[in-house]
Symmetry: D4
Subunit: 246 residues, 8 copies
Amino acid sequence: MNPIEDILNAYKKGTLTLEAAVADLGNSLFKDLGHSTLDLDRARRNGASEVIYGEHKTADQIVDLTRTMLEHGHNVLITRTTRAVHEALAALAPESRFHADARAITCSLHEPALAETSIAVVTAGTSDLAVAAEAAVTAEFLGNRVELISDVGVAGIHRLLNRLPEIRDARVVVVVAGMEGALPSVVGGLVDKPVIAVPTSVGYGASFGGVAALLGMLNSCASGVSVVNIDNGFGAGYLANMINRL
Amino acid sequence: MNPIEDILNAYKKGTLTLEAAVADLGNSLFKDLGHSTLDLDRARRNGASEVIYGEHKTADQIVDLTRTMLEHGHNVLITRTTRAVHEALAALAPESRFHADARAITCSLHEPALAETSIAVVTAGTSDLAVAAEAAVTAEFLGNRVELISDVGVAGIHRLLNRLPEIRDARVVVVVAGMEGALPSVVGGLVDKPVIAVPTSVGYGASFGGVAALLGMLNSCASGVSVVNIDNGFGAGYLANMINRL
Amino acid sequence: MNPIEDILNAYKKGTLTLEAAVADLGNSLFKDLGHSTLDLDRARRNGASEVIYGEHKTADQIVDLTRTMLEHGHNVLITRTTRAVHEALAALAPESRFHADARAITCSLHEPALAETSIAVVTAGTSDLAVAAEAAVTAEFLGNRVELISDVGVAGIHRLLNRLPEIRDARVVVVVAGMEGALPSVVGGLVDKPVIAVPTSVGYGASFGGVAALLGMLNSCASGVSVVNIDNGFGAGYLANMINRL
Amino acid sequence: MNPIEDILNAYKKGTLTLEAAVADLGNSLFKDLGHSTLDLDRARRNGASEVIYGEHKTADQIVDLTRTMLEHGHNVLITRTTRAVHEALAALAPESRFHADARAITCSLHEPALAETSIAVVTAGTSDLAVAAEAAVTAEFLGNRVELISDVGVAGIHRLLNRLPEIRDARVVVVVAGMEGALPSVVGGLVDKPVIAVPTSVGYGASFGGVAALLGMLNSCASGVSVVNIDNGFGAGYLANMINRL
Amino acid sequence: MNPIEDILNAYKKGTLTLEAAVADLGNSLFKDLGHSTLDLDRARRNGASEVIYGEHKTADQIVDLTRTMLEHGHNVLITRTTRAVHEALAALAPESRFHADARAITCSLHEPALAETSIAVVTAGTSDLAVAAEAAVTAEFLGNRVELISDVGVAGIHRLLNRLPEIRDARVVVVVAGMEGALPSVVGGLVDKPVIAVPTSVGYGASFGGVAALLGMLNSCASGVSVVNIDNGFGAGYLANMINRL
Amino acid sequence: MNPIEDILNAYKKGTLTLEAAVADLGNSLFKDLGHSTLDLDRARRNGASEVIYGEHKTADQIVDLTRTMLEHGHNVLITRTTRAVHEALAALAPESRFHADARAITCSLHEPALAETSIAVVTAGTSDLAVAAEAAVTAEFLGNRVELISDVGVAGIHRLLNRLPEIRDARVVVVVAGMEGALPSVVGGLVDKPVIAVPTSVGYGASFGGVAALLGMLNSCASGVSVVNIDNGFGAGYLANMINRL
Amino acid sequence: MNPIEDILNAYKKGTLTLEAAVADLGNSLFKDLGHSTLDLDRARRNGASEVIYGEHKTADQIVDLTRTMLEHGHNVLITRTTRAVHEALAALAPESRFHADARAITCSLHEPALAETSIAVVTAGTSDLAVAAEAAVTAEFLGNRVELISDVGVAGIHRLLNRLPEIRDARVVVVVAGMEGALPSVVGGLVDKPVIAVPTSVGYGASFGGVAALLGMLNSCASGVSVVNIDNGFGAGYLANMINRL
Amino acid sequence: MNPIEDILNAYKKGTLTLEAAVADLGNSLFKDLGHSTLDLDRARRNGASEVIYGEHKTADQIVDLTRTMLEHGHNVLITRTTRAVHEALAALAPESRFHADARAITCSLHEPALAETSIAVVTAGTSDLAVAAEAAVTAEFLGNRVELISDVGVAGIHRLLNRLPEIRDARVVVVVAGMEGALPSVVGGLVDKPVIAVPTSVGYGASFGGVAALLGMLNSCASGVSVVNIDNGFGAGYLANMINRL
């Protein structure tokens, strides 16, 4: 049952004072760890637990956050992390797994229900694989089947055309590309599914760390394409799961 | 039946030469109008007919394109257009309608099947209404019910919280905001549906014609948010329809 | 015969003083009109006469420049100009022609030798036609056959594939595109000819007046692609002529 | 008594020559250390002594500056410094303290008067803590009580709403945020106190080292918000003290 | 008495159903005008009523908003507006006043309490006067005395030094400057009061519409300086009032 | 005699009170016109009177400033102005002159001493003439002979080489160029005099209003080159005069 | 014979099913290595085999790709690589060669036909040599004679003029320059051959990693100049080969 | 005597063939070292020998260049270099000197004539000293007396006013500043000498590696100020020498 309604009813019945009701409401929604304020209500509001963004955090902070989440029965996904953090979690979460290519850690207490349809993750080049892996790990962690199709960029368009049937089988398509970022436009013109475009920082010179790809994707002449931040494989995988479960 | 398979089979049977097969394939897929190459196959590939982007096109070109689409039985949506173009279409399409706020023309030969679920279009301020209207007109043209919620930006967060039930009722949420573009982050943290963020060029000084809002949305700390181009209400409405029909 | 060698020889023979030789060298190479220093030697050095860039110049200055060029027997091309300038030239050059789409004036005293091979000019959208026209007028003025193929952008890739034979027939390909500027990458991956990419300022929002297309083209993953300035149809046509005549 | 008036009066009385008066005026206002010109008059003009910005300075230069300030009876704050500099100060200032999180050194000869009201320092995420710590150390060094509230960003707005009473208790609020930098807008819409927004370089991709957060804050749709430089915790803490003491 | 507590108590007593309580809470806080959602609770939360930002709004929308605010007893300030809008308000608010230099309209039903201390508004050049006027009108509308000191930029530093006593008399200083935006740094080094820096779009060439001044102010080497958006005189005046009333 | 020393001495003698001394010091140095604070001391400090920057100023303000300057015996230069302003000055300064190409007005009560050496102003193209004219008018107004050499840009390097003797005759060279801004580098490599580079906003596409030329000049591989703001002919002419009179 | 026609004919004859035909078409055109999809058809379409871009690829991936290409009889060029990768290839390709200056590896199974005309590669400074070397290695690998002319930048224009005969001998000229990037404009004004401009990231301060040079080249006032990405020596060499073989 | 005239005369007399004359002209003007083309004619054209820019060059290349210059009797200045390079020069130039603060090496075979007037180098902060040192070493190497005045930035304007007499004694003033770069404007308003402004990359956050200071200086409201590249102490010192010797 919904803990918030419990608290409101207890307050109405008088078994809780106003001060206690406010405090309880807070405690059921998040946990203050000093350095962080863990959002415990996100699964209810957003359909998935909070995810730990590993960058800029110490191993101790991550262990803290992981312990709290596991105690509350949440599966844990840590992104932008390192093997060293995985080792620091060994005692607490021996069953956790480090995904080296995606730089992510997953630790699942329970399997999420598997979505009926699948997600395609397509990359323009071999160099875009790390970002694509982050998207794939995220989507799989959340209970989706993922089809990964690599290195089918627009300079050799027949490679893409050959893989179209697999791409069209998916319910939502994540397209990962650096350099000029043209692949989502071409894919978007060929499928009738939402395309989530992920620019990567792969490139040199006037690619400006992914800005060229980002602008290319935002200005896509194809419809049905939207864009997430540069190198944000996690965001694409998360959104793909959300759409795949509608 | 699929005209492309017809042509391939005819070629195999020998009733078509190779040259004729190639030509027929071309003719069934698009029409060369000289100035434009109208894509007649898009509905099959993408789930919706080509849309006429009105900017930079003469009234004559638009009339040409509209006539061809109507002849092929397609509903017509023209974006970024003017009342003068609407008048130029009067003889050809007397039943067409000009949407002044959205700067769009619609002309529907047949009603699209109405989607079962609805789309919410939310704006941060009154000044974002024109872009929101383009999104709404597009989504309605494609057969969706749209709930428009205006002027609930983050500087008065209680206005948003009050409208949350309506927003949560929708299957996909379009959030339109200029200035700092913070509203999609807040909405994204409160709903478990995909959020399509549309930055607008509303603002002054260091808003740089929508760049501030665009960057704010790309860097959203909320998950489930993706972004389209600045002022691209059409793109958001089109993608929302695509997701709403999955 | 080469006028510079004449002067040097005259100086060596003593029929010219050092001062006179220097002055003559100058006069044979350019003409000082006060406001402008017309380069009369360019055809010898560069293979084509100087072209008059019309922007920021008064009609009087352009008439002046045109008269001097015609007096020296040069064909005249004026770019970025207006119908009013064309009218101001009526008395001086009644046979001159105004190309409204390309915003150019041509006036040819003699036909240039026609190149044996041809140039393809390809556009992504109808809105890119003005820039493409400037490229085509320039190339034709310099004596080339031009094949113009319009509106075959990447969102409907089959439109492009259908026109490939015509494109492959050309010796050099000019590709004109705004928005994400992806078309040169796709064309570059399909032909074995040099591709000159021209970004256009067509687009809105984060296209930034052609910057998105420019960056897309500079970061092209296809080889054999080089780029000229935004909207620089003239530069592309001039370079295409140069390559076509090698 | 004011040393400048002394000098002016002495000059008027004739006990000082014009040259000596000018020299004395200089000496009472600053001290030339060769590499630096220490401003000794700042406390009178600005209400607080000069602060040593540690970046780009050698340990020797910092020791020099610290010695001079202590000799003149000033409390010393060194920002953007290291533990190694702290060790170099051990002999000179054994009572000084290194704040590792804020990367600052404080050394107070005398306690500043404690302000009656307090300052709230609020962060959007755990990763913003280092900048927040610099703000807090600065404000405390100048004699203020500081309430630090961490990780209450806009993606989980209830975390912020729960802490509002504490925030409203303060006389001035420092809000520290990276990524989209939306928190100051939300806080600014909820309190009637000045909000000093500090963008941080936390983020990735199109956050551009804090530019996205900076633009978000400059374009805030909430009133009462002003902005300091990216990662400038010191500047925010200094200004908060100035406002808190009005 | 606080209307929100009334509603909560009525709900607790049972004289209001849950649905009615929620509805009443909403109605007491804002008013939905269709195009806009007027925030009626801002004075309580923020210490001043909502202000109408005139840009991008039609005269009809502004009249609507003004009527509602006057009906609720709020004083009205409209910024970025025109004389035509003022005329449209003539019937509704005959006592309203148009400030041509500041492009603002004020209409006060009751005089705000006059703050005891004053605000200085200082400009670098004559061209910065329009932005300064917006700041001054805003601060006066909110009940402050304003001292305006014009054209004392850093290229003639003695002009500023001469006016220092007046500037030091104020409790908070607004400094308005375009071009290199250096004046806030110099003022900030000479006073012990908060300095609110307002960059203006005055300048040419590499001033980039105020970006040079904005960057100059953000990087100020003086402490106690914070910055608002380019040309945002309103924001500076509003914040100055907030600080002046602490 | 120096008025400031007079005042100081009067104060020392007691014929002036401290208050009167401060006031007199102020009055001898500048004049407060309300909208502007005219700097009357600049000729002593900077070697030339204040110049009136016409942009953003009303005709009335300019007349005011001109009258005050003429009353104090200063020659007047007004830049970035219009013929209408010149007409507004007719009664006050019938001998003033409007320079249409430079958009400047000059009015000289007395001829400045003519500098012994001259200044060369060189332009890359005809389109750069307006900026060059502003530089030339400024330098002539301040008493310099100016040699103007137009349209000798780097695409026809022999045009420049031919004019080198004239350029080398000058004591300081102003080089005005738009587009890629390469001319100052070439000139700087050929002369042993200071080169003042002026980028112009002439160009299109990726010239970004003069940014390309500005960056080109700042990165000049030639020594002895410094740069002023885009289109800042006045600044170049003023600095050239200053160097020419050393 | 063309394998694609074989497959189509086999399908027509019935010796291949539709499914098998599609699969065979795919296999003859590219090879899926999991991490990469090697384009085996590029030589036919583009006139040269695929080139391995070494950056972001592991040594294992490069060895994989090299093996596949050698097995298919392609010459191999690896760019942006390291000596360590060369060592990893020792067993597989003992005859391969590491070009330290160009950071490239070449391995040629058969000599390409030598082009009849040659390519000039010209650098502005010594620091541009690495990029020039990449261009030269690429062009030589593809069967061209290359004339390398180093350090003839515009600050000493006579150095360039002296080498003009050699430059004019080439059929196409690659010009490599950092800093202000002015050399292609000067060369373009002196030769009647296509100039491929390569901006380099050489420079400091406002060169912004090659942006200044890139903009200079895009805005070149000389005709016949096109531009590739910053530091893209490979792209220039590849395009030069393509033009040289027309 | 001038070697070029010798060659021309020999050619006229017939003692030199045309080919030999051209070759000799080249050899007397520069020396081709393979990697570099040393400009031996610069002292005649520019008034000072070529300077070796050390960045991106190997120690071997620098030794080569130094040897050639010494052999031709030129004094040598190497900028942006290291102590390791100095050690590599020990055998060749034992009398050379490494300036650690300026990161420069000087080696003078003969003392340049000392200029009669001096140069002031002024810095805003202690952190700007390295760039100022490069300017000072350059100017001293070229035969100038330099007055270095450090840490007199605008946040404590009295420090600057106190040093004004020394600054006014110089014939030309170099002002070095990072952060907001305001010091040149203030100095330019106080002296009647040319001010060479040098932006430095000192700062953080929105200083963008010196861009904020650069823009501040380009937009200076003071006249007589010109700007060199970010951190370009050498360029400022070189230009100051040129002006000081006029």
